[in-house]
């Protein structure tokens, strides 16, 4: 894969990195087909220029509708949406077309034109934009090189694998130098390995071309590996927004907790704890591991200082937004007082769930709330 793609010229009028490039202000979208459905309900949200922004939610949460409001494929029922300085909620259909042309979009089902070759698909938005043939061909070649499928230029989409199709989709979405790329469940139809390839490509699009990327997904793993900030949607509302790391480390809403748990199964549930007790009758504690604890270095140090043995019986550490995050469950073996001092010290710098011993169990009775 080459990185021959020329970055779009900095737009003098547009939002600078870190400034809002998409602003939702109290946006509501109501569908009236038989019964009334509030797909998006009073959303106020800023997406910052230069970031990878995730929108996560279960199907039907309204995230696909939300992203379609950005390029006005759906029109808002009320509220305003500003995209790179243009209030799209004010514009009639004909004046929206140039705005849309500056916003790339990729789809779960790729939506490639089956009657055109790979090159023809990537050239399509350039034809719409009225580029002359020579410039168009040069640009197509450059884009196919960038996404790594230059050898497929003359193939038809039906001959490509899912990952290759999405690469074509990305090349096509980038063709007209967009400042924003909307990815609607772009990896949901792909296998795990291909998903990682496509996410890495989206990261490159963001880093090398400075394109703001909005990723719609129902997979917390996508958010964990790829996004800078995230909004969690439920029933048309944004229930939680923040830096991905903060949301993982401190999820405030039940729906967010459920998503976080799907990305990292590091904490034992009640049934796991019950099984662990039969094998490890001693005192068990779940110790949170994050940037502050320097992975588990500080925990190890605490154990050593107090002369207590810790056996790791469960846990997991992963990267969230490129920072360590997770938890380890230890069985602590040693003198009772020393163990108490260890637990106290651990509690002073990280979150600890004391599960007690097999004889005197603690905390695992009320399952979810305690364990997370």
């Amino acid at each position: 894969m080459s990185d021959a793609l020329t970055a779009p010229a900095a737009d003098a009028a547009g939002a600078r990195p870190g400034e809002p490039i998409i602003r939702f202000r109290d946006v509501t979208k109501v569908f009236r087909t038989g019964s009334e459905v509030r797909a998006v309900d009073g959303v106020t949200l800023d997406v910052l220029a230069g970031e990878v922004f995730g929108v996560i939610g279960y199907s039907g949460a309204g995230k696909s509708t939300l992203v379609r409001l950005v390029n006005a494929l759906e029109t808002a029922t009320s509220g305003t949406i500003e995209v790179d300085g243009t209030t799209v909620t004010d514009l009639p259909e004909a004046r929206l077309r140039p705005v849309r042309a500056r916003i790339g979009m990729i789809f779960q089902q790729f939506n490639l034109l089956g009657s055109r070759t790979v090159a023809g698909n990537v050239a399509y938005p350039l034809r719409v934009a009225g580029w002359p043939r020579a410039r168009r061909e040069a640009r197509v070649a450059e884009l196919l090189e960038f996404v790594g499928i230059a050898d497929k230029a003359r193939s038809y989409p039906s001959r490509l694998s899912g990952g290759q199709k999405q690469r074509v989709g990305i090349a096509r979405a980038l063709a007209a130098d967009p400042r924003i790329l909307l990815a609607d469940e772009a990896t949901s139809a792909l296998d795990p390995e291909t998903t990682q390839d496509v996410l890495a490509l989206l990261r490159r699009v963001n880093r090398e071309l400075g394109v703001t990327v909005v990723i719609i997904t129902h997979e917390m793993d996508v958010v964990r590996t790829t996004c800078d900030r995230v909004a969690v949607m439920e029933h048309g509302k944004v229930v939680e927004t923040g830096d991905v790391y903060d949301v993982f480390a401190n999820p405030r809403q039940p729906v967010t907790r459920r998503f976080v748990e799907t990305a990292l199964r590091d904490r034992p549930g009640p049934d796991v704890v019950a099984r662990l007790r039969t094998r490890h009758p001693g005192r068990m504690v779940v110790v949170g591991v994050d940037e502050q604890t320097g992975s588990s270095a500080r925990v190890t140090q605490t154990l050593r200082t107090h002369g207590v043995d810790g056996t790791i019986v469960y846990g997991g550490i992963t990267e969230v937004a490129s920072r360590p995050y997770g938890s380890l469950t230890f069985e602590l073996v040693g003198d009772g007082d020393r163990i108490a001092r260890v637990v106290a010290e651990l509690e002073s710098y990280t979150d600890v769930v004391d599960l007690g011993t097999a004889e005197e169990p603690r905390d695992d009775a009320s399952s979810e709330e305690v364990v997370r």
């Binding site: 789809f107 089956g114 009657s115």
Partner: protein, 218 residues
């Protein structure tokens, strides 16, 4: 009747049939495509939604299509007189065939467009394409293979329509089969005509399949 007597009649009839059928295919195909696309894009929630246009085209199609062609031919008489100048002969039949073909094909076109993946249209909209551009560069090319097959299917129906031309003084294979075959109890003539029609239909289907396969890009 000997083959020497039948042969020139057969060639003339074949020529008349081809003239009627091909005219109806070209004219009806053109207007049918327009009407079908119009019906599709006028649908509620579609590219150029228009309730009025949708209802008008839809009612027209539903009105015309179920009428048996021989009755339609008679019923269209006043309009045929205005347009063609006469209500009898091959030109009058051809006109009626063009009209009927337009409506029949319109429905076939619409059905094929409806089954198209709306995601492609959404993608084109997201790239800033205008509705007209989408119709010409997405709708028609993407539905081309089924449209070709639908058009081929139409050929048989149009051939069928041409068979009743004799009732209003037109010619063609149908007239030949009825006048020289059926009415004179000449089974040989009837079956020769049947054979020619079958060959025609086969050739059309063969060509249609070939073109559709080329259009599929698989």
């Amino acid at each position: 009747m000997t083959w020497d007597q039948l042969e020139p009649l057969l060639w003339t009839a074949l020529g008349e049939t081809l003239q009627m059928v091909l005219t109806a295919m070209v004219v009806g195909g053109f207007f049918g495509l327009l009407l079908g696309i119009g019906l599709y894009v006028a649908r509620p929630g579609n590219l150029l939604q228009s309730r009025a246009l949708f209802v008008v085209i839809n009612v027209l199609i539903n009105l015309v299509r179920p009428i048996p062609f021989i009755i339609f031919l008679a019923a269209l008489g006043p309009l045929t007189r205005i347009v063609v100048g006469t209500t009898i002969g091959t030109p009058a039949v051809t006109f009626a065939m063009c009209v009927m073909t337009s409506f029949v094909f319109a429905r076939i076109v619409e059905q094929n467009l409806v089954s198209l993946d709306p995601g492609m249209i959404e993608a084109a909209r997201a790239m800033g394409a205008s509705p007209w551009r989408i119709i010409v560069t997405v709708l028609v090319p993407e539905a081309l293979a089924p449209l070709i097959l639908g058009f081929t299917f139409l050929f048989i129906g149009v051939l069928d329509m041409s068979a009743v031309a004799g009732y209003v003084g037109g010619g063609g294979l149908g007239d030949l089969a009825i006048v020289y075959g059926y009415q004179q109890y000449n089974w040989v003539v009837t079956y020769v005509v049947v054979l020619v029609i079958v060959v025609l239909a086969q050739l059309a289907q063969l060509l249609g399949n070939l073109l559709a396969r080329k259009a599929l890009h698989r």
